[in-house]
Structure formats: C-alpha cells, structure tokens
C-alpha cells in the first residue's frame, strides 16, 4: 500500500503535466518530495492535495511552485578546474572548427553562460560561436538574459575565475552598480536564450559542445537516458559533452557511445 504522501505527489506531478505540460514525472523522487514538502510550508498548505488544487486553478501559483521545483543554484566558473580543463583540453580542438555551436542545457540563471562566454572571448572564439542557452524556467531565463548578479557573489566568482585560468581582471567584464554587477552585454551577443525541456522537447540544432551541469542529478535513470539521447543526436562526430563534477555516464546505456577526454573533470567526446 502506498502512503498518502507518495500518492499525493504523483497526483500533483500528473496534474502539473496535464495542465501546464511541465513534465516532472521522471525526476528523482527523493528530491521532488523535499521540494514539494518545502512548498507546503512556503504556501501554507496543509496537504499536497490542497496545494494541487491551488496550482491547478491558478497559473500564477504554478509559476511560484515552479521556482521551488527547479533548483537555481549556480555560480560562475563553478569547479574552476573544470573550466581550466575546457580551456586547456577542449579549446585547442574547438579552434579547428570554422564556426562553433554550443548548447548549455539547463542554464538556470545564466552563470554558466557568462562563464563560458568569457572563456571563449579570451580564447578568441566567441565571435564565431553561437550559444543556445536553454532552461524550463522562464523566470530563470529572464534573469539569465539580464546578466545581473549580486556583487557579493561576484567576489567568490572572481576567485573561481582566477583559478580557472582567467587571463584578465574579472572586473573588466562587469560594471558595478550599488550591490550588483552588470555583465558586459557583448558577452551575450551570440547567445540565444530559449525555453527547452530535456523531458519533452527534441533536438533543435547540431552542436560541437554541450554543457549540462548539475541538471541530470535531478532526473531518474530513464529521463537521464533521454537527455543523453538528445545530446548524442545533437553533437557532431567527436563533439564534446561536459557534465557536473559528480555526474557520470558510467551508469547509463549511453556510456559506450562517449569516451572520457578528461574523466576527472567530466569532459566526454562522442564516439
């Protein structure tokens, strides 16, 4: 017999899918359960069924819940050694392409996008690169487009940037105003921000590099394999797939269709 909480979570997730076409059905259960329980206290709902009723009848309420179901924690140059490895191991190979398309899947509020754009500019590649930055959360995408981050966080990002092999002063890339740092607009000239779901949408372009970091940990194996399938389809022959520092292809059926380039930094190449 299933417990009420488990039944109610499934009903809520089904209701969200039927009504709003957001598909959380194959997300990791333990994390979804915590997010939903967090939402209950946030929205002062006694039961998940009560939350479901409100979400079903009020799109604004759903948009608020979406902010809790997605996990927008990101930082610029997160795991500096990862970006250093991209600079040293991937960039020399990317330079052999006349034009480059990059897909940042699950870009959240844009920290990863600006990090890669800065790295590519320093390597002289940004002008011939198109970046597709996608996410399911329209509010995150809106924030990503603005490129405004709190100055307090930027201090930590500065340290990351330096450790990641940054060649200039990090302050060259933003203008500080009050407590915020507005990043150089020209960094996103070649960036297209778009709504895209790894759970329900298909491939939209051929790409040379895909970065999908700390997204797949929230998917179950089935959905993770769907995402790997999309990446495999989108990447050109010998294209690059880069994942979060604790994400791996080891437990996926797609493991054999990629080879590690820098395993420690989760940088793979399509076979």
């Amino acid at each position: 017999m299933e417990r009420n909480t488990d039944i109610e979570i499934r009903l809520l997730i089904d209701a969200i899918y039927l009504k709003y076409s957001y598909d959380f059905r194959d997300y990791s259960g333990a994390s979804i359960k915590r997010r939903v329980q967090h939402a209950l206290s946030q929205f002062e709902c006694k039961t998940i069924s009560a939350l479901q009723e409100r979400v079903l009848h009020d799109p604004g309420m759903f948009m608020q819940l979406l902010q809790l179901l997605t996990i927008p924690v990101s930082e610029m140059f997160r795991d500096p050694s990862h970006f250093l490895a991209i600079r040293e191991e991937v960039v020399p190979l990317l330079k052999t392409y006349p034009s480059i398309k990059i897909w940042i899947a699950g870009c959240s509020t844009g920290e990863e996008v600006y990090s890669l754009a800065i790295l590519l500019r320093e390597e002289g590649l940004l002008d011939r690169t198109l970046i597709y930055a996608t996410d399911i959360n329209p509010r995150s995408l809106e924030k990503a487009k603005q490129g405004i981050f709190s100055l307090e966080n930027v201090r930590a990002y500065t340290q990351n940037y330096q450790r990641a092999g940054g060649r200039r002063s990090f302050a060259d890339y933003y203008t500080a105003a009050y407590d915020y740092a507005m990043f150089d607009k020209t960094l996103r000239e070649n960036v297209t921000f778009a709504d895209h779901s790894l759970a329900t949408d298909s491939v939209f372009s051929e790409t040379q590099l895909i970065s999908c970091r700390n997204v797949l940990i929230y998917f179950n194996k089935k959905l993770q394999d769907r995402a790997f399938g999309l990446f495999h389809e989108s990447l050109c022959h010998r294209g690059f797939l880069v994942l979060g520092s604790k994400e791996t292809l080891d437990f996926s059926s797609f493991g054999k269709q990629f080879e590690p380039l820098v395993k420690q930094e989760r940088i793979y190449r399509k076979l």
């Binding site: 990791s28 333990a30 994390s31 929230y218 604790k246 791996t248 437990f251």
Partner: protein, 195 residues
C-alpha cells in the same frame, strides 16, 4: 541491548550513519570492527569543512576491511559496501534503492545533510533500516533519526558521555528516545552482529 526484540524485527538491509565534529575517528572505530565479507551496505554522511575534493573514501578504504567508495549519482547500492557522501552534495536513497545527489540548499548549514540521507533512506528501506547518530556539534540527524523510527527502522545514538562533541547525540536524544544508546565499541558490535 535486547536481543530477542532484535530478532523479532525485520532484517536490516542497510545502515545509515551520520557524524560531524570528531567524526573521522569515531567512524574508524565503529567500522574498524566490521570483518571482511560484512554483507550489509552502509551509507555515511560526514560533515567536513567546505572543501570539494575530499579524500575521505580513500582514507577509510586504506584502513577498513570492507570496500569503500564515494557515493555516486544513479549508482545501485551493493551489499557490504561503505558509501561516503560527496562533500558539497546531499546524498539520498531513491525508491528503487539507487543513490542520488542533489545541490538543494544546505540543511542545518550542512551539505551533505544527515537528515536528508536518513529521511530518504527511511522512505526507501522502511523497517529494514538501521540508523546511527554519532559525535557532532550541530543538530543535524535528529529529525532524520525520528523519521527512521517512525517508519519502523532501528535507531542508535552514540552515548553523549563518550562522544567527542555531544551536541549532535544530545539533539537526537532530545527529540526521541532511540532503540539503543551505545559506545562506539557497542555500535561496532551491534553492526558486526547484523544478518
């Protein structure tokens, strides 16, 4: 310790352990008593100062008779293996008893959090779980331990008198009376006697 009560309970299919300040030493003392071939999987959350590249799995691996790994996302739990949570990530057990990592906000200023591991493991293993709270300087683990008990699992707290830092065991005891309050040696013996 009441052995008859023990036998009437469900078989233990997994052990979860939480430790904070003073934890490395305590964990080595407990797990050092487990023989090669010990059959039950163990999942450990140990709070460490914020450093992303921990060598904890190697440290334990060199000093224990049982196999030790850093817990990986989507990994299936193997019998008799000790899994150590990665620093900076929460560790959970899914309904299919595979592991998952997450970057949700810290709980009790901790990521990984003991509560997160214990609560998800309680959901996955129900009465087939044994949970242990050891030495530590915060309140993490108390709620998780209560959840383990609510789902019928066995709960163990290190004797606060023995703990290097007694805050964490005391917080667990304040919330609920566990099945056992034991010294590190007693906890090791209890685990070694499983199955």
């Amino acid at each position: 310790m009441n052995q008859t009560m023990h036998r009437s309970r469900s078989p233990i299919q997994a052990v979860v352990v939480g430790a904070s300040a003073g934890g490395v030493e305590a964990l080595l003392k407990v797990f050092g008593q487990l023989p090669k071939g010990f059959g039950v999987p163990i999942l450990v959350v140990l709070h460490l100062p914020d450093e992303r590249d921990s060598q904890m799995a190697q440290v334990f691996g060199h000093r224990l008779a049982i196999p030790v790994q850093e817990a990986q996302d989507k990994q299936n739990i193997q019998p008799g293996t000790l899994y150590v949570a990665s620093p900076g990530y929460h560790l959970s057990v899914e309904a299919d008893r595979s592991l998952s990592l997450s970057l949700e906000e810290p709980v009790h200023h901790s990521r990984p959090s003991i509560d997160v591991l214990f609560e998800s493991a309680a959901d996955a293993f129900g009465p087939n779980l044994l949970a242990v709270v050891l030495t530590g300087a915060n309140n993490d683990g108390a709620q998780g331990l209560a959840k383990v008990r609510e789902r019928g699992g066995i709960t163990v707290v290190q004797d606060p008198d023995e703990a290097q830092v007694s805050t964490m065991p005391e917080a667990a005891l304040a919330l609920q009376e566990p099945d056992h309050i034991l010294t590190l040696q007693g906890i090791g013996q209890l685990l070694a006697a499983l199955e």
